[in-house]
């Protein structure tokens, strides 16, 4: 089964600093970390103490409400620090690697001869389960639930996103095995989202599942948008999503019986002097990326993830659990005289035609902009809302949804499809908003409220 979806609305932000197709040799990181804040709506219960020896796959913490959902160490080593924030909130568990890269051995067999129960247990025990994300709400699923569909988006359309065809070029075996495992768990309901630009030689073209191709600008690669077009979510529906990253980790588990989160991530951003890919486990400390220099005299923001939805982790921070990209942006503290009134501003990007920067390619500029973190304006009330629809290829009234959330009106939130969206899907609306409304944050508040009310 193969269907094509032509999405017209959306926006590809022409940002400078796409990753060059070179993979650097792995760096020996000083530290790794597992961060409970990478997982939405869990209550972390610590299972280790400082000084404990761990192997890759050893449990580090679990969800207090569902102790079977475990979160495990990405590398072998010793627990160095348990970082706590306000009110003793668990923020990160920092692990000093022993560089042996040993993993616990898990009793994996061919998924076809294992029972579904056994497969689930293995996924939970090894720490692979949290790679599955559940819609509505974008949270870690309950082990007992059955979804109506599973979606894996095989391309990333976000600004400066890694080319997944390149990053997964030699992971075919693991991806195939991952799919076989999922097929046992959820037979017949696995959907793959491919881009029309996915090369015919790509590993993703050889995977066996229901394939849908999508064309169009970002956010066409977001699973949320793909689900909206293929199988929309209502109140009683559950859909799981996985990244190819999660799929290959599950595959490795069943191929070799080890927990190995090694991934090829893109190191990108306009602030970098050199960009590229690097092969490393999850949770690597950012300052270990010495192969990618930037101007130390400038103030730089280090983001785990893409510039629209990633987390500001700081130069000493760690790669997030789900992320396949690190982005370096310059902080936008510089000021510009009468900036809003200048007619040209060719070096500034805007999706709106109130600036002529969209003419830049015609005037001999490269057409790539080095955006910084300046908000480019102050927060205001909703005034112009028609732009949101232009960057969201989905039949959703964004401004009505956001207003329903601000009014805490559960019924309206339901009507305006809060089940279908997670913050990353509305990131572009936030990007273009002339009133600088923090749409992703508001949506997350709405989701938090829904979870609380539905319990």
């Amino acid at each position: 089964m193969c269907a094509h979806y032509k999405l017209r609305r959306g926006l590809d932000i022409p940002l400078k600093g796409k990753a060059d197709m070179i993979t650097e040799t792995p760096v020996v990181s000083a530290l790794y970390a597992l961060k409970p804040i990478d997982f939405k709506h869990i209550v972390p219960k610590l299972l280790v103490r400082e000084g404990d020896a761990l192997k890759a796959g050893s449990p580090v913490f679990c969800d207090k409400n569902r102790p079977e959902v475990r979160f495990t160490s990405p590398v072998s080593g010793i627990v160095q620090t348990v970082v706590r924030g306000d009110k003793r909130r668990l923020e990160a568990i920092e692990i000093l690697p022993d560089c042996k890269n040993e993993s616990l051995k898990f009793p994996a067999e061919a998924p076809e001869i294992m029972s579904v129960q056994k497969i689930k247990e293995l996924l939970l025990e090894s720490g692979c389960w949290p790679f599955i994300i559940r819609r509505p709400y974008g949270i870690t699923p309950d082990p007992g639930e059955t979804p109506k569909a599973v979606f894996i988006s095989c391309f990333d359309s976000a600004p400066l996103a890694p080319d997944l065809d390149y990053a997964f070029a030699n992971r075919e075996e693991a991806l195939e095995m991952g799919l076989r495992v999922l097929e046992r768990l959820c037979p017949g309901i696995i959907h793959l989202g491919l881009s029309d630009k996915t090369s015919p030689h790509s590993v993703f073209r050889r995977l066996q599942a229901r394939v849908h191709t999508f064309s169009g600008p970002h956010p066409a690669g977001n699973p949320g948008i793909q689900i909206h077009h293929v199988s929309p979510i209502g109140r009683d529906h559950i859909v799981w999503t996985l990244t190819p990253q999660g799929l290959s980790v599950i595959g490795e588990l069943f191929l070799k019986g080890v927990y190995d989160t090694t991934r090829t991530i893109a190191v990108t951003g306009p602030a970098l002097l050199k960009t590229g890919y690097i092969c490393c486990p999850s949770g690597i400390q950012v300052n270990a990326l010495t192969g990618f220099p930037y101007d130390k005299n400038r103030e730089v923001r280090v983001i785990s993830g893409n510039p629209l939805t990633g987390d500001n982790v700081g130069p000493e921070g760690f790669l997030g659990f789900h992320h396949g990209q690190i982005t370096f942006l310059e902080e936008g503290h510089s000021r510009e005289l009468l900036g809003w009134a200048r007619p040209l501003r060719l070096n500034k990007f805007s999706a709106a035609r109130t600036y002529v920067s969209y003419l830049a390619p015609l005037l001999g500029k490269t057409g790539r902009f080095s955006l910084n973190t300046n908000a480019n304006g102050g927060a205001r009330a909703f005034v112009l809302t028609q732009g949101y629809q232009k960057v969201l290829p989905a039949n959703i009234f964004v401004s009505f949804l956001i207003k329903a959330i601000l009014a805490q009106d559960i019924e309206k939130m339901e009507q305006f499809s809060i089940y279908e969206m997670i913050p990353e899907d509305l990131a572009l609306c936030e990007f273009i908003c002339p009133s600088k409304i923090e749409i992703q944050d508001i949506l997350q508040q709405g989701i938090d409220l829904m979870i609380k009310e539905m319990q």
Binding site: K148, P159, S231, P232, I233, G234, R301, I303, P307, L308, T309, N312, T327, L329, E331, G332, R335, E336, L337, L338, G339, W340, A341, R345, K348, F349, A351, A352, R353, T354, Y355, S357, N372, T373, N374, A375, N376, G377, G378, R380, A381, V383, L384, T385, Q386, N395, F397, S399, Q415, S417, A427, E430, F431, I432, C433, P434, S435, K436, E438, Q440
Partner: protein, 372 residues
């Protein structure tokens, strides 16, 4: 550039909280943000942001209004000298323009000083940032009043529209009615002798506007201006409303930049053309007479008081067009229907949205149920 930044940084402590003039910090912030792009960086969500903001949007609308304003100045002068009698020789272009400039500029100044004064005061009391919405309203108001209006009357209307029309609802983005039209409606109902909409005074000369002429055609003593005159705008009328050419120029800017909805403009035009078939005035006359073109391009398209849904915009625009013509044709007391039609539809915009959204939700629920 660096110099200005230095000066701003030097005087900033005085206006910050705890400083000598700390109570003026909102005002200071507004001027600072006006001069220099603020150095605020993103904290949550998207780390990068589009460089389009409300200031930019508003300034585009003001630019789109400039042709109307300049022509309005010239036309004010022209009407003044033409009123001196058919035999009198017209002075040169610049003298005509200069005369009009001197008559119009006080209106603009009063509108901005009073309106922005209130905006700054309210922002100060609330501790908010100053909204830039008044940049546009302040330019619209002088363009939709007769040039002869006493300045105190204009000031009162501006104060009314900003306070009652906008601030009591919470400021720009929260208002129900278009503030500029509210100012005009205030003048119309409070000082009908000055603002009947069918008369315009130019230095003792009192002549009827074409719209008034049509309604009392039988008794009219003046000749009706030609369609071309009305299209080009060399006729008596409110400052910015007469020249359809200049309005179209503004419309082109608004549509090209995507600031105003072309859907509202098109449907408003279509609605008026359709309803115009009812009466005996030719349809193409309706479109160039009175405030129709100006209202259609600059007033009906106000993003705050018009519907938020795209389907809603079509309905809203068409109803404004139809209502305007109906008021013109069937209400002998007041020939100009545009203002009332837009204000009425502003009131109903949320209702239109309500029904459009209800249909959308119903369809969506069906699709989800089918995909269950």
């Amino acid at each position: 550039m660096k110099g200005i930044e230095k000066i701003v940084n030097r005087i900033k402590p005085v206006f910050s909280k705890g400083g000598k003039l700390g109570f003026l910090h909102s005002t200071f912030d507004a001027f600072e943000a006006f001069l220099l792009v603020p150095a605020t960086v993103t904290r949550k969500g998207s780390h990068i942001r589009d460089c389009n903001d409300l200031k930019r949007v508003m300034i585009v609308v003001v630019i789109a209004l400039v042709p109307c304003l300049l022509f309005g100045m010239y036309n004010t002068g022209l009407q003044h000298y033409m009123a001196m009698g058919p035999g009198a020789e017209l002075p040169g272009f610049f003298q005509i323009f200069w005369y009009g400039f001197l008559r119009v500029i006080p209106l603009v100044i009063v509108s901005y000083v009073v309106g922005l004064g209130i905006e700054f005061t309210v922002a100060q009391i609330r501790g908010h940032e100053v909204n830039e919405g008044y940049l546009v309203t302040g330019m619209l108001i002088p363009l939709i009043v007769p040039v002869t209006i006493p300045l105190w009357m204009l000031a009162t209307a501006v104060a009314f529209s900003v306070l009652i029309g906008k601030e009591i609802f919470g400021g720009t983005g929260m208002n129900i009615w278009n503030p500029a039209l509210l100012a005009r409606a205030f003048l119309f109902f409070s000082y009908p002798a000055y603002m009947t909409g069918d008369k315009i005074w130019i230095d003792g000369f009192s002549g009827a506007t074409p719209l008034a002429l049509w309604t009392e055609q039988a008794t009219a003593t003046q000749p009706m201006p030609s369609w071309m005159d009305m299209f080009l705008g060399f006729i008596p009328g409110s400052v910015g409303e007469t020249s359809v050419v200049c309005i179209l120029l503004g419309a082109a800017i608004l549509i090209y930049t995507g600031v105003a909805s072309w859907k509202i403009m098109v449907s408003c035009l279509a609605g008026a053309a359709l309803a115009g078939l009812l009466g005996d005035i030719p349809v193409h006359y309706h479109l160039v007479m009175g405030g129709f073109a100006f209202g259609c391009v600059f007033m009906a398209t106000d993003p705050v008081s018009s519907p938020q849904t795209e389907t809603g915009k079509w309905i809203y625009g068409a109803l404004i067009g139809v209502l305007t013509i109906i008021i013109r044709l069937f209400n002998p007391g007041y020939p100009e229907g545009m203002m009332l039609a837009i204000l009425l539809m502003n009131t109903f915009a949320p209702l239109i949205d309500h029904y459009v959204v209800a249909v959308h939700v119903k369809r969506k629920m069906k699709r989800i149920a089918a995909n269950g």
